[in-house]
Subunit: 226 residues, 2 copies
Amino acid sequence: MLFGGRKEDDETVVAMLASAIRRDISFGVLPPDEKLKIEALRQAYGGSNHSMSETLRMMAAEGLVEATSQRGFRVMSATQDDLEDILLMRLQTEKLGLKRSMDRGDVAWESNVVAAFHTLSRAEVAVVSRPDDVTALEWDEACRAVSETLLSACGSRRLIQMAGKFYNQSRRFRLALLREGRIDFAARAQRLERLQAAVLSRDEFAALNLLEDDIRADLGARQTTA
Amino acid sequence: MLFGGRKEDDETVVAMLASAIRRDISFGVLPPDEKLKIEALRQAYGGSNHSMSETLRMMAAEGLVEATSQRGFRVMSATQDDLEDILLMRLQTEKLGLKRSMDRGDVAWESNVVAAFHTLSRAEVAVVSRPDDVTALEWDEACRAVSETLLSACGSRRLIQMAGKFYNQSRRFRLALLREGRIDFAARAQRLERLQAAVLSRDEFAALNLLEDDIRADLGARQTTA
DNA sequence: TATCGGAAAAATATCCAACTTTTTTCAAAT
DNA sequence: ATTTGAAAAAAGTTGGATATTTTTCCGATA
């Protein structure tokens, strides 16, 4: 475990186990395709065999873990195909969600968008200067919050859920890019600023293109626009 | 339980419980928003409390059941909003999937499509003449098989999963329409025939429009095209 | 040497019974 | 009518026990 992030507040045991394992998968502590043996995990993370079993079953639904009947669980693979598949789904869900939010969002939504972008800009500065795991996690959370906020006015509960799920699946790849120093933060800052402006001025065409660029950059893909 | 559909073949206990409960939710035996108490379900469907708990947690991920921390589970609501949300997601996922399949599908895919449509046409005849629950279930399965086959060549594992998930969520609504005799099977037959023709002749525009019409009709929504 | 088969070991899946904590219910008191 | 708080119900958790399945490994056979 990277840092004993037990939020001993209100969460249930299964939820705590899930977030710990989720984090370790995101950071690659549990590498792709690794077998997840109940007993071993139980000793490493705590909890009973049942709790662990339920946790893994839950994470299988999230797409972070692969379940095979009577053969247990393993960390979801992270091949080029997976990356492209996740990229496709993120583009589809987030673009649609943003479009709908821009059609429906009110002033309160706009304020939330501004707030989320502001938080992110601070997190970007922090992660550039202090690239440890805690900062990385906070940066990633800020990114997620922006995405979530952008979609929050789309009016479709299921679309939001789906987008969140695929964002979670993409975490591993983004954090790997960060670790390898392959993120151009200057370009990012510019892109995010333009995205925020486009969203607030309700320039749908520009916003969707910028969002697409951002998601592609997030996953290390080539840009569409020059 | 409608009919003790235990497939005592290979499935695990949790899988059997899930398919039994899934079916009872689809048929409305377990109505929307009904509280699902572990102990009561355990007695009705069998299995231990853990098996039931895992089953419900799994079904929550499928979107057929709603889980609230420390407050148990209830059958997912089935409001007009839910219907429209599911409709939106089915349109998005299935249209994109079909488009991609039509770009990529080979002759083997075409053969599968023809086969699936043929099976469905037989099931349609059966469900019109003999509208009992078993026939309804077979008809529904044939519909699902067509949808799954249409998407099978789309090249995106996650897209296929999503589409299947939302199809499952829409089952309740389709079966309700069927029960209430609100399905125009003549129009359906025509639509399906035209859809198959459009798909096979790779007429993307026509195919996507027909698919949209079919999904909308499936969920009792107004048609877009006159 | 390769592989085939089957015993041994490991791991999963399941159940039972008890216990803790949280939520819900319900009736009495303000 | 609202609040309060104790009793009841239900969810969450655990440990241990057992059955079933998968994997591993080793010797026999071709």
